[in-house]
Amino acid sequence: MKRALLSLVLLPLLVLPLAGCPAASSTTPPAALAPGYSTALDQQLGQTLAALRAGDYAATTSYLALTPAQQAAEKSALNNFTAAVNTADALYLAFHAGVTVANPNPPSADQVQAAVATATSAQTNFNATLGVKQ
């Protein structure tokens, strides 16, 4: 079932590059933004953080089923990962919202990207604990 779903997901990814082939003399048009995003960078950051957050949430759910020894091996790295993801998500949401009355100085894209890099690094550290089980 999962493989079938993944195949459905993969199909448009494999087809889109062909459908978007430009004429020889034209430039490739930029991909259309998904609804709700303001720029390509906004969407890229949103997709990246959604993936990080979902992986983190799944890991925290799975954590409850682990043995005490496994939990001890993972707890610190998992909480560091969670804290980094939550920080990056908060920054991203403020960046995504842009200038508002409540937040006249939203974070810059560089600030969000730095937070994403920190979260990715924390994820790498957490992943390393997954192999330490025996």
Binding site: R3, Y57, T67, D89, N127, L130
Partner: protein, 123 residues
Amino acid sequence: MLGIVGIIQLALSLVGGILQNKGVITANTDNLITQLSGLGSGLLTSVLANKGTATAGISDTMAALGTLSGVIQTLKTNNTNAPADFLAYLDEADKSVNASLGAYVQAGKGFDVTMFAPVPEVS
């Protein structure tokens, strides 16, 4: 692309962990282990080859992770007598990989603020 890199790192970590546990899972999965070993290096090769071409990198990675998910399911089915911590490890990695992939695709369909809700820390 950082999210995809993280997913790849998780997949490679998974492959490494399975190889580490080769001595505790049943002998008839040797072929699967060989597949996993190739898949890990294949993923890395794909990412390096597609550096700078985001779409190709994503589709290659997702295809490889789709295969990985199938292999994980087979390992879980064939190794019900394996140590509980090893099976829990497979479950954890499998769920995390699939959740990340699903969220990446879902977020690509449109912005949804609920996908960024804070995750509670474990106690």
